[in-house]
């Protein structure tokens, strides 16, 4: 192999090595999601939560391999192709699409990890009361069909990419996170709140999570994985990954800090679980603009997202959408915000890719495209998820019965408790 090595071949291998490592970091995020969700919920459902996250990886991998990849990237982009791909099922055929110098399997591994992420986001909002069977079905559909379609629209070269000023979502604030966040909101709404979540007076009553250490350990793992998520989205090895990683760090730090201060001011004490949410909010927020914003922009986006998530969580509490882990706020709300922020904070002009944002003299072109993208994706996911959950509710049923919810899903859905102190 070395014998015929060229500068290009070495660079290509370097690209592939880097993206594979980035993919592994993103896969690691599954553990982070599981820990955050488990930490913010009750011990009697902990095994069910880890099981869901494990299944998200399985479904995400197998179904994205079988159909998702083809829907997202396959075939030409004209006509219907601007909305839906249809070539490269099972990654078969060497002619199928891949990006730049990336081996199709490397590109797939990276993309499949993203698909699993989109599904996993929903798990948290539906925690502690969803039938395992129904969740499994949902998870399969979102990573096989719903998410790939959204990907198609932009990363797959579809209509959002074909706008005069292309919709810009570098690593997926909208495509991955808001997609998950909206589906999460729909799922939580269809399910209704957990028993005891609201008092007789209709006021929200806290159901404290069983393990803050799990929640924050999970947040740290998500932070680590996010460097693969964002810097890996360069889809090659270049010096640009440095600025992308720095923006990721700054927004994450800003988000955690803002959430800490906001809760401190609001309720007199810095809320640890919220600080973790803030970290993720900052990360979600900067994901869309990780490449195009500068350090200052990243910090501002992080700070705003961190404060936003606190108020958003309270808002959804009020409207009785019971989201145990704040997935709707973190991924949905901050995902939308971060995407729009590109239209404001973009400091880069790149022909056919992205324009400068409003605050950097680029006018409103990019902002308008961002709005179009956010609205279009939100609308599509809202409809698709509603149909899906509606059908599930009408058939298999979405929610476990009362006794099961009270005694815990672990014993009833899976046959034994997640924690045992048996001798």
């Amino acid at each position: 192999m070395l014998s015929e090595a060229t500068i290009e071949s070495v660079q290509a291998i370097l690209d592939n090595v880097w993206i594979l490592i980035a993919a592994v970091l993103v896969i690691f995020m599954q553990a982070g999601f599981a820990l955050v969700e488990a930490g913010l919920t009750r011990g009697k459902n902990v095994a069910n939560i880890f099981m869901k996250n494990l299944m998200d990886f399985c479904a995400g991998t197998l179904l994205f391999f079988a159909v998702g990849y083809a829907i997202a990237f396959g075939g030409d982009m004209t006509g219907l192709g601007a909305y839906l791909g249809g070539d490269g099922w099972f990654l078969a055929g060497d002619g199928i699409f891949t990006y730049g110098t990336l081996d199709k399997f490397v590109f797939f591994t990276f993309q499949a990890a993203f698909a699993a992420t989109a599904a996993t986001i929903v798990s948290g909002a539906m925690a502690e009361r969803t039938k395992f069977k129904s969740y499994l079905f949902f998870s399969a559909v979102i990573s096989a069909v719903i998410y790939p379609i959204v990907v198609r629209w932009q990363w797959g070269g579809g209509w959002l990419f074909q706008l005069d000023t292309p919709f810009h979502d570098f690593a997926g604030s909208t495509i991955v996170h808001m997609t998950g966040g909206i589906a999460a909101a729909v799922g939580a709404a269809f399910l209704g709140p957990r028993i005891g979540r609201y008092g007789a007076d209709g006021k929200p009553r806290a159901i404290p999570g069983h393990s803050v250490p799990f929640a924050i350990l999970g947040s740290f793992i998500l932070l680590v994985g996010w460097y693969g998520f964002n810097a890996g989205s360069w889809l090659g090895a270049g010096l640009e990954i440095g600025a992308i990683a720095t923006n990721t760090s700054l927004a994450a730090a800003g988000g955690a800090l803002a959430a800490t201060i906001t809760t401190w001011v609001r309720s007199g004490k810095p809320d640890v679980a919220m600080a973790g949410n803030g970290l993720l909010a900052g990360l979600v927020g900067v994901t869309a603009g990780a490449w195009v914003v500068n350090g200052l922009g990243a910090i501002i986006i992080g700070l705003v997202a961190g404060a936003l998530v606190v108020y958003s969580v309270s808002f959804f509490d009020k409207v009785k959408i019971d989201d145990p882990v704040g997935a709707v706020s973190v991924h949905g709300v901050c995902g939308a915000f971060g995407t729009l922020a590109v239209g404001l904070f973009s400091s880069i002009e790149s022909e056919g890719v992205v324009k400068k944002g409003l605050f950097y003299g680029g006018g409103t072109d990019q902002l308008i495209s961002q709005i179009i993208g956010v609205v279009a994706v939100a609308a599509f996911v809202l409809v698709a998820a509603s149909i899906l959950f509606g059908v599930l509710k009408a058939t298999v049923g979405l929610r476990v019965d009362q006794q099961e919810e009270i005694e815990g899903l672990d014993v009833h859905e899976h046959g034994f408790a997640g924690y045992s102190n048996a001798d």
Binding site: A206, S267, D271
Partner: protein, 112 residues
């Protein structure tokens, strides 16, 4: 024989145990309980929503003694468990008609 049950503050448990030891008590059984009373609990805020913690952690101490020892033991516990602050707890005494030591089958005072 009498069973003396005391509800005390957890961080006082060691002091009470030591005091009882030096008072010649050779055995007792303790367990973690939660108490509701004048001391009241507190409200916590979690992710923006409040919730009330009505019960405070307490330690329950159970000691079976000869009738003759009751006053002294009550005395010792009261002293060693007291902080003077609300929530110090209660002591109550109930009759025990039989006491058996499983190992030997001894009954009554011999079983203490």
């Amino acid at each position: 024989m009498k069973l003396i049950t005391a509800i005390i503050k957890p961080f006082k448990a060691d002091d009470v145990k030591d005091a009882l030891k030096s008072a010649g008590i050779q055995g007792m059984t303790v367990s973690e309980v939660k108490g509701f009373g004048r001391q009241g609990g507190h409200t916590e805020t979690y992710r923006g929503s409040e919730y009330a913690i009505d019960f405070v952690p307490k330690m329950k101490v159970e000691i079976v003694v000869d009738d003759s020892a009751v006053d002294q033991v009550v005395e010792v516990i009261s002293k060693s468990a007291a902080t003077g602050k609300i929530g110090d707890g209660k002591i109550w005494v109930t009759d025990v008609s039989r006491l058996i030591r499983i190992r030997t089958g001894e009954e009554g005072s011999d079983a203490v």
